[in-house]
Amino acid sequence: MSDAAATSTPQSRDMKALEALYLTQVRQKRLYSGILLLLFVLLVATGFQTANARNAGGFLQGLPNILSFPTEVLSEAWANRANVPGLIVKFIPSLIETVNIAAVSTLIGALLAMVLALLSTRGLARWPRLTPLFRRLMDITRAIPEIVIALVLIFILGGGPVPAMIAIAMHTAGALGKLFSEAAENADLKPVEGLTSVGASWIQRMWLGIIPQVAPNWLSYALMRFEINIRASAILGFVGSGGIGYDLKIAMQWGAGKYDQVVAIFLILFLTIVVVDQISDRYRNRLVKGV
């Protein structure tokens, strides 16, 4: 270490040069961030103009109407508010179906994501040369919209929860795989080195050296994905995979007079997300603190 040498006072000429050097660096950094900020503002402003010009109605003219549909839904539901508790009970079986689709697809997707993540993380991969392959595989599953996969599978397998489950699981594997891989990349490699030094196999190293470190992060990503998948599974009901989305599609139709059902469905979906959030928070804390 050159610490001892560094404590001797440098000549003032060096100090002046150093000062000038650092100040130039600072000015340059400021100039770059200024240009970047200007570019950002310019892009947003011009982009807004383009988007507004291509809009059928125009942004500013349409703005006052933004609340008219929700108002209609809510006022109709308010008129029939006595029905809402009964409707909530009625929709519980389809909610369970939707949550089941989400749960199974999250579980399968997360298991696939674990394998894909470890195989595509720099420094951990079993076959380092194949990491681009596994990465592209995850990119593909993320790039294809779930609804497209579901529609194709419904065509092949017929309507029902299985196509929705496969579609969501594929997307989950890609999306979670990327997040898992980033968490694993930040893991400390020292425990892995320790396990390598005793002759552990790759699976032993990953399971005992990496998983304990990344488990809290992975779990919270997976639970977050579960919440997203509940919503995705409800949307897929629109295209005929059952669950609460199908009921929502029927109820949402204009002039059907079923807006009380819409409100009931949104209420139980919201409550489900709240419950999942609360439970996941509790379990994650327990895992992190080891209570």
Binding site: D3, A4, A6, T9, M15, L18, E19, Y22, L23, S33
Partner: protein
Amino acid sequence: MLQVENVTRRFGQKAAVDDISFSVQGPAFVGIIGRSGAGKSTFLRMMNRLTDATSGRIMVEGRDILALKGAEMRAWQSQCAMIFQQFNLVPRMDVASNVLHGILNRRSTVATIFNLWPEADIVKALAILDRLGIAEQAPKRAEALSGGQQQRVAIARALMQDPKIILADEPIASLDPMNAQIVMDALRRINQEDGRMVIANLHTLDTARRYCDRVIGMRDGRIVFDGLPDQLTTGVARDIYGADASFSEAATSTSIDALDTRYAEALLS
């Protein structure tokens, strides 16, 4: 200048700092020693207002700094620098920016968020780094520096605050003997040349003897010794650390001179 009056801090039932009182006149170098858990860190953290006191007063120039709140409390923190065992720098920011953090309390929030500092401030920060012998490290990220260099950056941040009192919580506990000496020498110079009061928690007796004007010994939250470094005999040390006759100072010493080869051999055999 500094009067500590009956300061107590309880965590649950246990008192980490138990009714301690002392006063310091003028810019002294005060060392606080004691085993871990004796309440040394808690006391320094209370002075810097990182931890609240349960009761008591700390009077600095006629005002009770434990009663300050909000902006006044932050203004006090800005005048009372703290140096930590693990340096507590922002690892991904450059060294000069870390030093400039010392005056965050006196500059506008918006300007500092965008890292916009007046050039006079930057020049001052570089001059302080030069005084501590690490000016050439200014553009590097803090995490790229060795432990001893990082602790000197932390001291530079403290000096940037232009404080009346510098608190140092085990400043050399994470450093090797060579770097420990550089850091302690820097603190001593600041104390003597600038006339700033330094209160340092130390974990080795030889450091306390060598650098301090006055040593306070703490045990279980209470002050059990308060005197000159020369009065710090082995018997007193045993009392402070609650050790029996097998206590050997050389075993914990970080001084190169104190290296006791016989003791090392005895441990290895």
